[in-house]
Symmetry: C2
C-alpha cells in the first residue's frame, strides 16, 4: 500500500468538512485524516462520521502535539492562519494554510519568515484556482509571451452575491476584528491571487471601496481598484457581493494579443501575427479603411482560439490537497507555495488603505500604518481585541 500523509483538519466548518469528505470519497488518494480539531465540542460527532478513525481535539495545539498527524490544513478564521501555520511548522508538521494567508501583511511576513527557516517542511496555500486548468493554461500562454507584454488588464468579478442571511450566520463574519474585511478577504482572494499570478504585481493602487454599501455590515461589499504596474501598464479590478446577476469577465491586453475570459470558463485568445506596433506601422490608410469596413481578411493580422475546460466539482481543491501531500512524499513541485500567499494579502491591504486614505498608495505601503488603521476599526467595532 502506498504511503499516505496523515492530515490534521483544524476547524471543521464548511471548508474543513468539505475536505474531510473529499478524502473520505477517495478524491485525495495520498492522504488520510489523522485528526480533527475544533473548539466546538459538538463537532466531534460530525468528525466521527466524516473521518471515523481520526482523533478529535478541542484545541489545535493538542492536535499538533498528539503525534497523530504529519500535516495540517487551517480551515479557521483568516486571522489565525499565520499563528497556526507557525505552530505547526515549529513542531515539524507540514502546513497548508487556507486563503487568505492572513489579514495583514505583517503577520503573513512573520509566517513566511518562519517557514523559510524550515525548508525541509512543506508550506503551501489553498489557491485552488491555480489548479483550474483554464487559468493554468492562460498562465502558460502569458508566461510564454504569446500575447506579448501586458498593457492592460480588467477583471469584473461580481458573481459573489451574498444575501444578508449569509452575513448574519456567525459573529465573526464580516467584522473587522473577526474576519478583517469583507469581499476582499473572503470571496475575492482567489481572483486577487490569479490576477497578480498572471499579470504581475502592481506598484501602486487607487481604490473606491464601499463599506456596508448594500448590506448591514461594517466591512466592504463593493470594490473598484485601479493599479499601475509602473511601466505604463494598468489594471482595473471590480468586485461586489450585491450583484445578483453577477459578472465574471477578465480581459488581458498584451502588445501582441489579447485574452478575454468569460465566467472563468471560456477564454478567447487572440494572437497577433506581429507585434501590434509593427502592424500599426505597416498599414496604409487604404488597408485601414478596409479593416474598418470589414473588408480585410483578419486572418492575415491575427488568429483566434477558444479555450474551454469541463470543470468537475471539488477537483481543484482535491488537486491542491493531493499536490501538497505529493510534495511531502516525493518532492513533487507545489502548485501554490505558501510564501506566495502574501501577494494577494498585500494587494487587498493596499486596496483597503487607498480607500481609507483617499489617495493612491504604493504596494510597499507602511505596514504599521495599515495595522494601526485596521486596529482603529476593530476598536470602533468593539467586539474583538486588537491585532498586532
Amino acid at each position: 500500500m502506498a504511503r499516505k500523509v496523515r492530515l490534521g483538519i483544524i476547524g471543521l466548518g464548511a471548508q474543513g468538512s468539505m475536505y474531510a469528505r473529499f478524502i473520505a470519497d477517495g478524491l485525495v488518494p495520498n492522504m488520510e485524516v489523522g485528526a480533527v480539531a475544533d473548539t466546538d465540542p459538538a463537532k466531534q460527532e460530525l468528525a466521527a462520521t466524516l473521518a471515523p478513525g481520526a482523533s478529535f481535539f478541542g484545541g489545535y495545539e493538542e492536535l499538533l502535539d498528539s503525534g497523530t498527524v504529519d500535516a495540517v490544513v487551517t480551515t479557521v478564521p483568516h486571522y489565525l492562519h499565520p499563528e497556526i501555520g507557525i505552530a505547526a511548522l515549529s513542531r515539524g508538521i507540514h502546513a497548508l494554510v487556507e486563503k487568505p494567508a492572513g489579514v495583514y501583511t505583517k503577520q503573513v511576513a512573520e509566517l513566511n519568515a518562519f517557514a523559510a527557516t524550515k525548508p525541509e517542511l512543506t508550506f503551501a496555500i489553498m489557491f485552488n484556482q491555480r489548479n483550474n486548468p483554464l487559468y493554468k493554461r492562460l498562465k502558460e500562454i502569458v508566461d510564454a509571451g504569446e500575447i506579448g507584454s501586458i498593457l492592460r488588464s480588467n477583471w469584473i468579478i461580481t458573481n459573489w452575491w451574498r444575501p444578508q442571511g449569509y452575513y448574519d450566520q456567525s459573529e465573526w463574519r464580516a467584522t473587522w476584528g473577526g474576519e478583517g474585511g469583507g469581499v476582499l478577504v473572503n470571496q475575492a482572494p482567489h481572483q486577487l491571487d490569479l490576477w497578480q499570478w498572471i499579470c504581475g504585481v502592481p506598484e501602486k493602487v487607487f481604490s473606491k471601496v464601499a463599506y456596508g454599501f448594500r448590506r448591514n455590515i461594517v466591512v466592504e461589499d463593493e470594490v473598484t481598484a485601479v493599479v499601475d504596474y509602473g511601466n505604463g501598464a494598468t489594471g482595473v479590478f471590480v468586485t461586489a457581493t450585491h450583484d445578483m446577476v453577477g459578472t465574471d469577465r477578465f480581459e488581458i491586453l498584451g502588445d501582441a494579443g489579447k485574452i478575454v475570459v468569460e465566467n472563468s470558463k471560456t477564454a478567447t485568445v487572440t494572437r497577433l501575427r506581429k507585434p501590434e506596433r509593427e502592424l500599426s506601422e505597416g498599414m496604409d490608410m487604404g488597408a485601414v479603411m478596409k479593416l474598418f469596413m470589414g473588408e480585410l481578411d483578419t486572418d492575415e493580422l491575427y488568429t483566434t482560439e477558444t479555450i474551454e475546460f469541463d470543470s468537475v466539482w471539488g477537483a481543484q481543491h482535491a488537486g491542491v490537497l493531493e499536490n501538497f501531500a505529493a510534495n511531502i512524499l516525493d518532492g513533487t513541485p507545489l502548485l501554490a507555495p505558501g510564501s506566495e500567499g502574501i501577494k494577494g494579502v498585500r494587494l487587498a491591504n493596499a486596496i483597503h488603505l487607498s480607500s481609507w486614505l483617499g489617495k493612491e498608495v504604493p504596494l510597499d505601503f507602511d505596514e504599521g500604518e495599515f495595522l494601526e488603521l485596521l486596529n482603529g476599526r476593530i476598536r470602533a467595532e468593539g467586539k474583538f481585541s486588537e491585532r498586532g
Copy 2:
C-alpha cells in the same frame, strides 16, 4: 413643396463631405446645402460635385455674411467649434456644432452663455449616438427606474483602433495645439456623452492616462478613469486606440436590475422582481444554497430581456441633421441640445487634469488651472499658439 433649411457646411473634410452626401442622397428631406466654406481652395471642386447649387467660400465669415444659409454645421478642428458657433448665432444663424463642443470648458461655457442670449435660434450638437435606437431605449429604461438607482457602471470602449498612419494624416491631428488631445477629444466623446447622459454626471475623477503610449504622438492613446458619483455609486471608463481586437462592453448595475451592452449592438436587461436589498433580506440560507447550486427558479427573482436593433449606415447622423432642421422649422424637440456638449468636455478635461496632477479631481475643477496646464503642453509642442 415643404420648406427646407439651407445648411452651410463649414469645413469640407471627411465629416463635412459625409453630411453633404447624406443630403444629396435625400437622407435629410428637410435640408439642402446652401453653401460650403473651406480654407483649402481645392475643395471647391469637391463642393461642386457634392452640392451643385451651393455657393463656395474660403472663409466661414464670408459664408455667414452671404445670406445663402439659415444654419451651419461646424465640421472643423475641435478648438474652432465655439468660435464659429458664436459667430453664426451672432448673425441670427442656427448652429449645429460638431462633437466635441470644444476642447476646454471655458470656451464651451462662453458658447453656451452666448447661445442662451439667443433663445429664438436653434443650437444643437452632433451627438449622433444619442440617436442610436439602442441607447435611446436604454436611456428610457434607466430614466423610468426599471433597473433602480444606479450603483455602478463600467464601459470598456477600446475598439477605436488607429494605426500610426492615421495620426500622420494631418499636422493638427493628435497635437495639443491643433486638436487638444487624443482619444478623449477625438474618438471617445460619444461614449463620454452617452455615459453621463444615461448614468449621470459624476462628482470626482481619478485617472491613469498614457500619452504616446503605443503611438508616436504626444497626446493620449490609453485612458482608465474611475469616477465617484458622490452617493456611493462609482464608474469606470477605459478607452484606447491601440487594441486591434477592441472591446465595447458597457455594464450598468442598478439596485433593481442590470444592463450589459455588447458592441453597442445587443443589450441584456435584467429586471429584478423586487429591489435587490429586499430579495437579500427575504432569502434564507436554504434558498441561497439552492441559488448557488442552480436549483432555484430565477424567474421568481428576475426577468431577462435582450434588446437589439438593426443599424443603418448614416441613419444616426442624418437623423440628427433632420431633427436639427425640424427644430428650426417647427420646434420639434432637439435630440441633443447644444448646451449639453459641455458635460462631455468637462469629463474629458477632468480625466486629463487628474492624470496631470496625479490625483483625484472634482468635476468642478479650476478651469483656469486646466487651461494653464494645457497651454504648457502647447508651448512645449511648439507648433501652435496658446489658447485662452
